[in-house]
């Protein structure tokens, strides 16, 4: 147990861009990714807006170098993981002891739900290749095998906090000297399963979502993948352009209140943020920006707000929910937002919160509404909370 864990690079594909640069441009232009469904086939098309990746499976497969028959989640995962690694400038992965720790929530469900139509007609029907990669871990292995990663390959699924937990586990694998490099994050494609699941909870907004707005009426789902490359001190020293920042703190706590709802006090949220601060040796006032979990549901934003008030009052950092652009990408969200947060430290980016108009009555703080660059953001926090009470917070820190 020694040494720092550095963020050497990152990659994102999501509803606002096919790579990180495109995502930044979408933020700067204030262009959220929610639209009518183009690729997912569902009766909710035209009713529920989603933030889809703007490419079909054939195009993604060609880009990923994987067959178009595998889960869209694997295609997105491979594209973002490759981009993350390429951004480090380290060249070949071969010289490093490398791990891939990836998160997703429903594995190859996009294919399984196609299979089930025929299978439910007759148990011998349905094409087996459609369920070959149903397991969450199988999606990770498709990517690991394609990238030649074998030392540590693992998959985490803790609902909407999955991606953040992948970073935590990856960082610890490095600190225990088990590997030198971990590509860590998450991926999830839109599926009818998750869309209908969230719809039964009546927490999907039929308008573009408005996190932390008093008139918020639910979330929009999105899809994508986001990975950071975590490296040891020794590997960080070899980076041609230096690291982006350090992963200086992280914590995982459980709300232990309800299977899906957050406690009104935001207990788990508070414990995760407080734990991450303690680990990084920081005071609340040191945090310059919070990338909120900020789904846009009544319940999440109220609980998260409560926990922020309890921890940060009376001085609040800048904050925003990038889900107002990307939608809620579930297992990918912790990974995507980790990349945004790490980049925020490196480039001083504060991301805007789209569609914000009316402050929440309960709290004295409001999210940032415009894009800005070049801010001095030494410490940035990223929150990810989920079903099952799973709450995780990460802190990224500069090094000057």
């Amino acid at each position: 147990m020694s040494g720092q864990v550095w963020v050497a690079g990152g990659g994102v594909i999501c509803g606002i861009g096919a790579d990180l640069r495109a995502c930044l441009e979408a933020f700067a232009r204030m262009e959220p990714g929610m639209q009518d469904m183009q690729h997912l086939r569902s009766i909710h098309r035209g009713v529920l807006p989603v933030a889809e990746v703007k490419a079909d499976n054939d195009a993604l497969a060609a880009q990923a170098g994987l067959p178009a028959s595998v889960s869209r989640t694997a295609l997105l995962s491979k594209i973002a993981a490759e981009q993350a690694w390429a951004s480090t400038g380290l060249g070949s992965l071969a010289p490093y002891r490398t791990g891939l720790v990836s998160a997703n929530t429903v594995g190859g469900m996009d294919k399984t739900e196609d299979f089930f139509g025929a299978y439910l007609q007759h148990p011998q029907q349905g094409r087996l290749w459609q369920v070959l990669h149903h397991e969450c871990g199988s999606v990770t292995e498709l990517v690991a095998d394609a990238m030649g990663i074998r030392q540590q390959v693992s998959t985490i699924s803790t609902a909407c906090s999955s991606g953040a937990n992948a970073l935590m586990y990856g960082a610890r694998l490095i600190r225990h000297n088990i590997v030198d490099v971990v590509i860590a994050g998450g991926a999830d494609a839109l599926t009818r399963f998750t869309l209908n699941g969230f719809n039964t909870l009546m927490i999907l907004d039929q308008q573009p979502c408005r996190p932390f707005d008093d008139t918020r009426a639910g979330l929009n789902l999105g899809e994508g993948a986001g990975y950071v490359v975590l490296v040891s001190d020794a590997v960080a020293a070899q980076l041609p352009n230096g690291p982006w920042c350090r992963l200086s703190g992280y914590a995982n706590a459980n709300d232990a209140y309800h299977q899906t709802a957050s406690s009104p006090e935001g207990t788990g949220n508070y414990l995760a943020m407080k734990g991450a601060l303690e680990m990084s040796g920081l005071q609340p006032a040191d945090i310059a920006y919070i990338n909120l979990h900020g789904t846009g549901t009544q319940n999440n934003d109220e609980s998260e707000g409560k926990a922020i008030q309890r921890l940060f009052a009376p001085y609040y950092p800048a904050m925003s929910s990038t889900k107002s652009f990307t939608g809620h990408t579930l297992g990918a969200s912790g990974g995507i937002e980790a990349v945004f947060s790490a980049l925020a430290v490196q480039q001083g980016v504060i991301y805007p919160n789209a569609h914000f108009a009316v402050p929440m009555k309960e709290y004295p703080f409001t999210p940032a509404t415009s894009f800005s660059k070049g801010n001095r953001l030494t410490h940035v926090m990223s929150n990810s909370f989920g079903f099952g009470g799973n709450c995780s917070s990460l802190i990224f820190s500069g090094f000057n």
């Binding site: 039964t200 909870l201 009546m202 309800h258 299977q259 899906t260 709802a261």
Partner: protein, 83 residues
């Protein structure tokens, strides 16, 4: 109301509860039958499936689902409206 009680028991998988165990005016939520917000969502679908009544706003739940009697009254009122 006996039918409605059976439907509630089936929909919510209330094991070891019989229709006669549920009082007409007994609160269904919290200290009464102990139901929660997920059950309210299940009951919304129950109304849709059995009575063709759609509730778009889950915030109406607590009022409609206060007791078996309030549910029955809501059903009667809304079936009349549709008829």
């Amino acid at each position: 109301m006996a039918d409605l009680k059976s439907q509630i028991i089936a929909q919510l998988n209330l094991q070891e509860v019989k229709p006669e165990d549920i009082g007409n005016d007994q609160p269904l939520f919290k200290e009464g039958l102990g139901l929660d917000s997920i059950d309210a969502l299940e009951l919304i679908v129950l109304l849709q499936q059995h009575y063709n009544i759609r509730i778009a706003n889950p915030e109406q739940g607590p009022e409609i689902f206060h007791s078996v009697r309030s549910m029955a009254e809501y059903i009667t009122a809304h079936q009349k409206q549709q008829g």
